[in-house]
């Protein structure tokens, strides 16, 4: 569905230096040699800190920007050359700004989209009914887009992007600023769309809930370079996301001694143990219980937030190389 081969995008920043009209030109590599393939039916999350090159990648995939070098194919087309032809086959949603017409009622916007994408009347009706039900659009179909709440607007944008039944849906931060309920609706909808229709979905996000809930595959980009590509479990492993066992003993004792287990914290009777990757938590607990009296026990996995934060800060060398 998507093929990117060694794609680079260089912007030239012009900065005024000192006095006078002379400007210094500094080239900035927003995307620096990105290569990846997305197959039909995949659900890919594209992560990265601000300015890492996520949006630039999306803009190149949709044909808005022309890559400086490298080769891109989306649905077999070169996006920058066949932008309008490609536009009929993909759906694009920007979380930060709407692609709907600000002053038109949502319903009119959707009719207009139908005409612009030349969707047949019959197919349109079926599709609209489906989307209206799934995204609960009914209550605000007649409201001008400018009066919609952010959550409603996002659902409207999704409907508009999907009316022509695209093969690929590209979402740039679709859940940004949404409340919990709207987020859940949008996520549930995307999961169904991918599972039932087989629509390939690529989304960028800062909300790791989106990733945990939706994406079978995660790609992380940092400073324009791919830093990770794999599934969630691989991400945890790669980031050295170990588990922690918190035990509350009957009385304060010196740090427990157990093979392969490291004590990372002692707070009175409560001790925090770090379990190595692949350790069997049950047997650790069993051998602990044989030697100490345990009041309470908790097992904590490193949250995805923490893993990603570590990756962004770069304090963790990734042990899994990026797949070619």
């Amino acid at each position: 569905m998507i093929e990117m081969t060694d794609v680079t995008k260089t912007f030239v920043l012009r900065r005024r230096t000192g006095r006078g009209p002379r400007r210094e030109r500094t080239p900035v590599r927003a995307v620096d040699g990105v290569t990846f393939t997305v197959d039909r039916g995949e659900f890919l999350g594209y992560l990265g800190p601000n300015g890492a090159g996520k949006s630039t990648t999306i803009k190149m995939l949709t044909g808005i920007l022309t890559p400086t070098s490298g080769r891109i194919r989306v649905a077999g087309l070169d996006p920058s050359r066949a932008r309008t032809t490609l536009a009929r086959r993909i759906g694009v949603v920007f979380g930060q700004r709407t692609t709907l017409w600000w002053d038109l009622p949502l319903k009119d916007s959707l009719t207009l989209v139908r005409r612009l994408y030349r969707v047949e009347e019959h197919a349109y009706r079926t599709r609209l009914a489906e989307l209206t039900a799934l995204l609960e659009l009914e209550p605000f179909l007649a409201t001008p887009v400018r009066q919609l709440s952010l959550g409603q607007r996002m659902r409207g944008d999704l409907a508009a992007a999907l009316l022509h039944d695209p093969e690929l849906l590209v979402l740039d931060e679709p859940t940004i600023g949404l409340d919990v309920v709207s987020k859940a609706t949008v996520r549930g909808f995307l999961a169904r769309l991918n599972a039932e229709r087989g629509t390939t979905i690529l989304l960028t996000t800062h909300d790791l809930g989106d990733i945990e809930r939706l994406c079978r595959r995660v790609m992380i980009i940092d400073h324009g370079r791919p830093a990770f590509d794999g599934d969630l479990a691989a991400l945890r492993r790669a980031a050295g996301a170990d588990r922690q066992l918190i035990v509350e003993l009957a009385a304060p004792v010196p740090p427990v001694e157990l093979d392969g287990v490291e004590v990372t914290g002692v707070e009175g009777p409560r001790q925090t143990l770090r379990l190595p990757d692949g350790a069997n938590a049950a047997s650790v607990v069993a051998s602990l219980a044989a030697r100490y009296e345990i009041r309470d026990i908790a097992l904590r996995e490193t949250g995805i937030e923490e893993i990603v934060a570590r990756l962004y800060r770069g304090d963790q060398e990734l042990s899994t190389p990026v797949s070619p």
């Binding site: 030239v12 803009k59 400086t68 694009v92 700004r97 009119d108 030349r118 047949e120 197919a123 599709r127």
Partner: protein
Amino acid sequence: MVSRAVDGDAGAATRAGRAVSTYCLLAWTWIRAAAQYPVSIALLALGTMVTAGMDIAGILVMFGRTPRIAGFTAVEVLFLYGTSSLSFGASDILLGTTERLGEHVRNGTLDALLVRPVSPLIQIATEDFTPRRFGRLLPPVLVLAFVLPRVPVDWTPGRVAMVPLMLASGMVIFAGLWVLCAALQFVLLNSHGATKAITYGGSFLTQYPMTLFARDFVRGVTFVVPLAFVNWEPALYVLGRPDPLGLPGWTRFASPAVGAALCAVAAVAWRAGLRRYRSTGS
């Protein structure tokens, strides 16, 4: 599944037809949206009309002091006014909002236009299309209706045919200028003011006999910005006057060619501008 229309190899005529029908569709949608506030439309149309009519008042005031300016009578100047103003008004209705391109680039909303399967130029040109814009056509139409029977002209068939021809070519020339200016905004992001000076300033310039302005300046304008062809050259033919600048006779019939050339240049510039945007992301 929805059938997916693929129009990769549609002919040029089909594509042009689609562009026109898309334009009408979008414009009609905006008109309907605006029609929710009919009173506001009526008032704004009136306002637009009055503003446009102020120019006429200006011309009349000047001729209240002198019977001729640069050898032209009030009726002849009003003829120049009417033809240029009608051409400009029509081009403004069709393409005036393209001057907002810079805003779209700055706000990042151009990206949203680029992901639709329709030329961004059509999308911007139809934006906020409201019936009130037609208000600006009324003053020049009234002026022409008043002036045409009164200009001291021997109406040969050629002269009669020249009037609609000069209106149409004038409109095409202004249309080319609008697109050219929009294309320029890709380069000069804050050029909103500068482009206004070319289009609106040009419209003002053509309302007066070119001889009012210095000779060299007019020469420059004639060749650099071909505004003189909007109505000046063809008007000289209609009014049966010698060219005060001594340009060859064929220039009086060159307006359609100038319009076509200008549109070709504008199309190239627009494409270049868009390509530049897409490679810099400004």
